[in-house]
């Protein structure tokens, strides 16, 4: 996993054990995770470190934040070469009402949304809620 170290270097952040672990954790999971998910996975680590690690990742566009309406912020790894900060790149998120998991639908981009005259759209958050493929028995 030398790749991760290169990624960190390209973002000008130091390579630390904790950061590598958290990155791998996020990479393994195919779903968006909360801070307490990470806490539970690394219960020997300090909460603040986990918090600041994820905030650093966010700042450096290694992860993006997801507000799925549960009231708890979730995070997921950004796609390689994504532009999560640019509106046109935004994908939608799916929250399963059954298993409570939230996933990125990275190749489902958000359609152009019409707003009334005088309004300027800068950013769009779109969350679809329902039943995921695993839970629908597909």
């Amino acid at each position: 996993m030398d790749n991760i170290e290169k990624l960190f270097a390209s973002k000008n952040i130091r390579v630390t054990a904790m950061r590598l672990l958290i990155y791998k954790f996020l990479a393994e999971k195919q779903i968006a995770v909360t801070l307490s998910d990470i806490e539970n996975a690394f219960d020997k680590a300090d909460r603040t470190t986990l918090y600041r690690t994820i905030k650093t990742f966010e700042e450096k566009v290694i992860v993006h934040q997801i507000d799925d309406g549960t009231g708890i912020t979730k995070y997921a790894l950004c796609e390689k070469g994504c532009n999560c900060d640019i509106e046109t790149d935004l994908h939608l998120h799916f929250h399963c009402n059954n298993c409570n998991e939230t996933i990125c639908l990275t190749d489902h981009k958000i359609p152009q949304i019409k707003v009334p005259e005088g309004f300027v759209s800068e950013n769009v958050n779109l969350v679809v809620k329902g039943i995921c493929d695993k839970c629908s028995g597909y």
Copy 2:
């Protein structure tokens, strides 16, 4: 405002002074409000009462909850005869990055969103962020 009393009766909730006041407050405002907005408007009233009043309103589909991504839950009156619980009736919300106000765009319904096979869409939350008409000087 005898109408409000009839509305309450139709929802099987008692008519109380506080409920009437809060309802009127929401009706006057054209924007979504937080609980602390209501607290500030009625500083002699108890927070819990305000909280439970708005929760009752929500349960009875008198108001709907709005998650605009600020992390603080907002509320706005439902349209007369709305079906806020049904997907097809959902409108979008606009959050102004300048004045921080959030409004319902009640006649901007959310377009049909395609989800991958196996996924079942039950509900959609769509928040557009940008500059509102007042702030854009329209």
